[in-house]
């Protein structure tokens, strides 16, 4: 089931086209929106929230029209923006409770819920502290807390790990993974950090220059054409690369003793061919495994 979709959507800023004739569906679950800077990721999120008026095309979020039902959409959606958004002097709990009240929650419920979500986001101990004294990681968490305080069905996370150190990033990714799996909340993560998307999302959409250049399940996108294997030799041996084609193996990539080899479908046992080649050139095989593409490979291929 799709939680958001756009059809032939075009968004222009004056003469600059940010999204061009975009047709796209976001299924439920966790979807990553990838793209280089200026690809149109944030524009798409803002359009889906009803903040930007498309020049042409249509779209819906949770079955609601983006142009005429913006308020209803925002009642069911939470946004974690990219930039900081805290009022100086506020405590975390008052900020999150205020966000809840703005979403329509009665003030007592909003306060109680603010405590809950801050606890969930790991800010329980710091909830009465002035937000200005928070570290970057804590500020990111409070942004997530205000986005989920009213129990949205769909979360838009815009660069959720911006400025985080490795530990903070891991924690944030764990939170995103947790909230997007089995909690009845769908998540759209906009990021240019491939690892983040790879860690948290089941599906990715790659945008470039306002168009969709690749989309699909992460595991499907990472699958390789044909059979490929990754071989690591004890020492770099140039003769290995020269000899491999003799046994039907094609060198795809080679770097510092690591080789990616493509085996044709009619080669019955590629592993045997690797060991034969190694024995013939006097090389020692340290590891041999089926090769996988990283999301970075997919991304780079898509935007090139």
């Amino acid at each position: 089931m799709s939680v958001a979709s756009v059809h032939n959507l075009t968004v222009r800023y004056g003469t600059k086209t940010a999204l061009s004739d975009l047709t796209l569906e976001f299924p439920d679950g966790c979807v990553g929106l990838l793209g280089p800077n200026g690809a149109g990721k944030s524009t798409l999120l803002k359009t889906l929230l009803g903040f930007l008026c498309p020049s042409s095309g249509s779209g819906s979020v949770l079955g609601l029209d983006i142009q005429s039902q913006g308020l209803e959409i925002r009642r069911r959606v939470g946004l974690m923006p990219e930039q900081d958004c805290h009022i100086p002097g506020d405590t975390a709990v008052s900020f999150v409770a205020y966000a809840g009240e703005l979403a329509g929650m009665p003030s007592r419920r909003a306060m109680s819920r603010a405590h809950e979500v801050l606890e969930y986001c790991g800010l329980g101990e710091a909830r009465y502290r002035n937000v200005e004294t928070y570290s970057t990681g804590m500020k990111q968490r409070i942004k997530l807390a205000q986005a989920i305080v009213h129990g949205p069905k769909l979360l838009f996370l815009d660069e959720p790990t911006n400025g985080l150190d490795p530990a903070g990033r891991t924690e944030m990714l764990r939170l995103i993974q947790d909230v997007s799996h089995g909690k009845g909340v769908s998540v759209i993560v906009s990021s240019h950090l491939l690892h983040d998307v790879e860690t948290t999302c089941d599906r990715v959409v790659v945008l470039a220059r306002g168009r969709v250049v690749r989309e699909g399940l992460v595991r499907e996108l990472r699958e390789l054409q044909g059979r490929q294997i990754e071989v690591e030799l004890h020492l770099p041996t140039p003769a290995f690369a020269e000899r491999a084609p003799v046994h039907g193996l094609e060198i795809v990539r080679e770097a510092a003793g690591r080789y990616r080899l493509r085996a044709p479908d009619d080669l019955p046992d590629p592993a045997r061919a690797v060991f034969l080649t190694a024995r013939e050139v006097g090389a020692q095989v340290r590891s041999l495994q089926p090769a996988q593409r990283s999301l970075q490979d997919v991304f780079m291929e898509a935007i090139e």
Partner: protein
């Protein structure tokens, strides 16, 4: 606690995904919210209450609110002094006699305009300068407007919060002063002579908050810094006042009484002119003449329609300016 499905509740006491504290008591897992939600018409009140709450938390607010009662206390002192005069003696304002018109309304005009010109103005700067500018600077508008809240809800909430905060400071002391005068002059026909004074007083006390709140919202919305927004408003407020007074002095040097309207063509002047009309009072100003020395000139209130239109125009301009600037996202058009 809010409602949750049984399956979600069964996850209670499992480790927090944030990896923080593992508690046997608190349910640290994420749960959806399925409690009640108010209709959209309530949202502006949330914004308004937040302005009021944040103002009441500031010590400077209480300091200025206390200081802004000085004009009222001074009037109380005047009333007290006049009540000490022997029966039958004139009970006109013994200090300067700074007004013309309804006897008791003069007291309130003196208090309201003195308060509005300086103390209320400072208070408005304190509370209103950052009302939208602080949100602009913190990028909070994106978060607020990502909730089911329209720009109009937000603006109405900000205006109402600011207006209520300022009205609290103008109406409160004015009513206390009214009660004091009521007890002091009851036997002298206070209610009989000016039965509608309470209505006029409430109307007059609300004029400065309306104008200050609206204009400050406009200035605040167009700035990212509360200090700059405040400085801009202060500049416009005082420069327009000085300009109007100078123009009045220059254009009507021969007969000050004729140029009353010019004198009120400023923010402060529009407020004062409207208050004068509502209370039905005029003022006396001192003119220094080389041969005759100081003489008092009576100035009737300016044309009500014009000053009311000016005050309303300023208020509407402020609100419209704010409305034009409030947006969730900045759009730079290429």
């Amino acid at each position: 606690m809010t409602g949750a499905s049984p399956s979600e509740r069964s996850q209670a006491a499992s480790p927090s995904p944030a990896g923080a504290v593992v508690s046997h008591v608190a349910d640290l897992t994420y749960r959806g919210y399925d409690g009640p939600l108010y209709a959209r018409s309530f949202r502006w009140r949330v914004v308004a209450l937040s302005i009021l709450r944040s103002a009441l938390r500031k010590p400077a607010f209480w300091l200025l609110a206390a200081a802004s009662t000085i004009p009222h206390l001074f009037v109380v002192f005047q009333v007290f002094m006049s009540s000490l005069m022997p029966a039958g003696a004139s009970r006109e304002n013994p200090f300067l006699g700074s007004g013309v018109g309804s006897k008791y309304a003069l007291y309130f005009h003196q208090a309201i305009t003195s308060q509005s010109f300086f103390w209320l103005f400072l208070l408005a700067l304190l509370v209103g300068a950052g009302s939208i500018a602080a949100d602009n600077r913190a990028n909070a508008l994106l978060v607020y407007l990502s909730k089911p809240l329209t720009k109009t809800d937000y603006l109405v909430g900000k205006w109402a919060g600011l207006f209520a905060t300022l009205a609290l400071v103008t109406v409160g002391p004015a009513l206390l002063l009214y009660v004091y005068c009521l007890f002091t002059f009851q036997s002298e026909g206070f209610l009989r002579e000016e039965p509608l004074l309470i209505v006029r007083l409430l109307g007059a006390a609300l004029v400065p908050p309306i104008v200050h709140a609206s204009l400050l919202l406009g200035f605040s919305a167009w700035n990212r810094s509360p200090a700059v927004a405040g400085a801009c408003y202060a500049g416009v407020y005082f420069v327009s006042f000085v300009a109007a007074m100078t123009a009045w002095g220059v254009l009507h040097r021969g007969d000050f009484a004729k140029g009353v309207l010019v004198r009120h063509l400023s923010v402060a002047g529009a407020i004062d002119g409207t208050v004068q009309n509502i209370l039905g009072v005029g003022i006396r100003v001192m003119k220094w003449q080389r041969r005759q020395g100081p003489t008092w000139i009576e100035l009737q209130p300016p044309d009500f329609a014009v000053v009311l239109l000016l005050a309303l125009g300023l208020a509407v301009a402020g609100v419209v300016a704010a409305r034009l600037r409030i947006r969730a996202v900045e759009v730079v058009r290429g």
